[in-house]
Symmetry: C2
Subunit: 468 residues, 2 copies
């Protein structure tokens, strides 16, 4: 197979700069501060600023930028809010960053069809604010207030994917600008279709390497009539995980099940001034009719009791729920606070649910052996969990140990039929794991698609695919 063309970093051609200046004026920037802002995300990878940034305001402007980049062989990187965790937006080969944050209009809310049409810079919180009063919500919640374009690009999910699915299930259609400047619309608003190749799902998770998303149609869900939350502590993390496994296997339609290890709970108590028992813990949320919510919770309480669950604590009042989930949401900050000045490197494996207890238990051993501090927290209803490895950002040796720990965790998950990333994506951090997970034949097939759609390898080059 032909190797993808490699773009050595070189200065932007003056003709490119002139063309962009003429079209975008002040919205095209070569300024150092703007470039620096677009050169880092929430990952631990070294900053890599683009050579220029453009703030696009519509699909036609993205088309112009893509065409101008193609003419001058300039790499092009889409940018939402910069909350990615695997270096997706780092301009590792220089080029132009297309900032989509000004494309932030909610274009339509079709409440009666439970879908919304949005521009890619709309964030999930913004969409949910726009849905206020409609009786509907957009469930995908990766923690950060990410842009929906970015969430689609990384196939994001989060705490309640166990009930509502991931971006894969919740994007109905996309508009995208491909490398040759064509604008494709990948689907309609029907709930299902057998009409041709699934371009929507091909673009979801492609991390800007196949095209730039300029519009999304997303599914909405009815706000549940009743919501209740509960927390339950366990003597051991394996007991907690076994409770999860049985809950899923019984088909209880829980909306969220989050696992926190004892260290995470300790971090929360310290950071959020809570008084939770500092042992492994599950956070549950139940959605449904009042009767259904009560029934689900009772079933789960029984399962938890069988597995040694302690202190099953209810939180049906909104303020109690808010307090609990706010604490859960702050886990990253709480964890970092365990070691002031540290940075978190988050692992992201996901395994078949039956292997989850064994996996978490093995990972706990790996962490202990590593001597690193790494609280465990997870969206365990899907088999997905994270270790937030706390490192000194100025200690390369420690970062190397953290990367080694991550590698061990990924290998353990892959050996169990799992994946190296449940929801963060590949970016620049996991390309070697992608190859191990899928094998050379599958990666070569991905390259065939990449080369067909982006023959000059200008769309977010250096991301997702390991060298061919």
């Amino acid at each position: 197979m032909r190797a993808p063309s490699d773009h050595e970093r070189r200065p932007l051609p003056q003709a490119f700069i002139d063309a962009m200046n003429a079209r975008f004026g002040a919205r095209f920037s070569l300024g150092e501060a703007v470039r620096a802002h677009h050169g880092h995300d929430e990952s631990h990878f070294p900053d890599a600023a683009p050579d220029a940034v453009v703030f696009a305001r519509g699909t036609d402007e993205v088309v112009f930028a893509v065409n101008t980049c193609r003419t001058h062989a300039v790499p092009i990187i889409p940018f939402g809010v910069g909350s990615s965790l695997e270096g997706h937006i780092l301009a590792v080969r220089g080029g132009l960053t297309v900032d989509l944050s000004e494309m932030n209009q909610v274009l339509a809310i079709h409440a009666e069809d439970m879908d919304a049409v949005v521009q890619p810079g709309v964030t999930r919180k913004q969409l949910n604010n726009a849905l206020h009063g409609s009786g509907l919500f957009f469930p995908i919640d990766p923690g950060a207030d990410a842009s929906l374009g970015g969430m689609a690009s990384t196939r994001a999910s989060g705490t309640n994917a166990v009930r509502y699915g991931t971006m894969r299930e919740n994007v109905l259609a996309l508009t995208a600008v491909l490398a040759d400047g064509r604008v494709v619309r990948t689907g309609g608003r029907a709930r299902k279709s057998s009409s041709g190749y699934d371009l929507t799902r091909l673009l979801v998770g492609s991390e800007g390497t196949l095209g730039i998303i300029t519009e999304l149609t997303v599914r909405l869900h009815p706000l549940p009539e009743a919501v209740s939350s509960a927390v339950c502590a366990f003597p051991d993390i394996v007991d907690a995980v076994n409770t999860v496994i049985q809950t899923i296997q019984l088909g209880v339609p829980v909306a969220r099940i989050e696992l926190l290890d004892a260290l995470t709970v300790k971090a929360i108590n310290r950071y959020s001034k809570t008084t939770l028992r500092e042992s492994p813990m599950l956070f549950f949320e139940f959605h449904g009719s009042p009767a259904s919510v009560e029934e689900q919770a009772q079933t789960v309480q029984e399962i938890a009791r069988e597995h040694g669950g302690l202190d099953f604590e209810w939180a049906s009042r909104p303020e109690d729920r808010t307090r609990l989930w706010a604490a859960r949401h702050d886990v990253l900050f709480a964890s970092l606070n365990l070691r002031p000045g540290s940075r978190g490197i988050s692992t992201d494996v996901c395994v078949p649910i039956s292997r989850l207890a064994e996996c978490v238990d093995g990972v706990r051993g790996e962490i202990e052996a590593s001597g690193l501090i790494a609280p465990i927290v997870g969206h365990v209803g899907d088999g997905n969990f994270h270790c937030v490895i706390l490192v000194d950002p100025d200690d390369p040796a420690e970062i190397a140990r953290a990367e080694d720990l991550n590698r061990r965790i990924v290998e353990r998950a892959l050996a169990m039929g799992g994946t190296c990333t449940g929801e963060h994506g590949i970016g620049i951090g996991k390309q070697a794991f992608l190859l191990r997970e899928h094998g050379r034949e599958a990666i070569d097939t991905m390259w065939l698609i990449k080369q067909a759609l982006d023959p000059d390898n200008l769309m977010n080059p250096g991301k997702v695919l390991p060298p061919a």
Copy 2:
């Protein structure tokens, strides 16, 4: 764009025949009866027999067949049970049919992870029989006892997709043989992943034009603790559809909602010796805990009453449910029986749920204006419905009128943001509609992918994609 290479029908090269004979012996057939059996499906399109048929027994044998076809430029068509409805398996350019029905092993049932690994010739009923006693089931039910490989290839769904999704949501991973003979494995067994391009979803719905599926990992679901069914008659079909719309909008997790028009009910009464009121009718099925099922049913009953529903009739006993759903399952035969000797041409549009009443009402008018007999039946919870247009198979003029009616129905659905096919696929019947639905840019993008993966256009040529 380069036009795809066209394969004029020509005799099989002797060297191809020799190679296939040497490898497969009696499982490679040039016999007329075997070829004829593989030259028709359940569509109304003219039979088109392949030049040869091979009965493959493993991925390695499919690889051999694909490689031999490539060497000799022979088209290759995968075949499950032949229940497709849009001519998918017709050998319109001759070539070799790969019959996968002997690859019918259930390779693994991972009850604790709720997935199963199967060969492509396993049918949905066979899988559900294999699951007996496991507490799990495979929900996708397109009516026919189709092969799972075929169902994945057409992105099939059916009566309970409203609750459990389609093949898109229920295939976790595939093994497929691509045109160059490579074997790709497209995913693992984790419930979610952000790991690379979604090759699984690209192959699901590609109708054998990108590769031949030789293994599937599918999701299973817990058997519901309680199941109940109900039927409700309505004075007018629009009242029935409005009941559906409100049920979906309220988020009631119904497992099935089937619409039958008065003519369909009449056909059922005549065929299945039932005594249903001959007016538009909804069939419901509710899955869940006993309390949840009762609550769902009561909610729906109230909604139905608001829309003039009559005779809300329960069927909680298994034998009553079986009778009802057996009648529903026999709708095609019952409909054909309305006009002995006729053949059914099934339309398959799917629209956003808010437009469903308007769409069904308009279609009813189109049917009346056409003078054709076409009972309406639908998986209306998804916005999907079919008209079974009864035609005299020996009357080309009538078939042309039926095709014209189908075209009008598709145009109506597309104008509402719907799709030309909710679940049957494109095959040879809907390529022009595919273009109208997605536009030239999207179709050209599909062609780029097709050409990248199958440069000689040998994988089920003439299907899905309209000429480039």
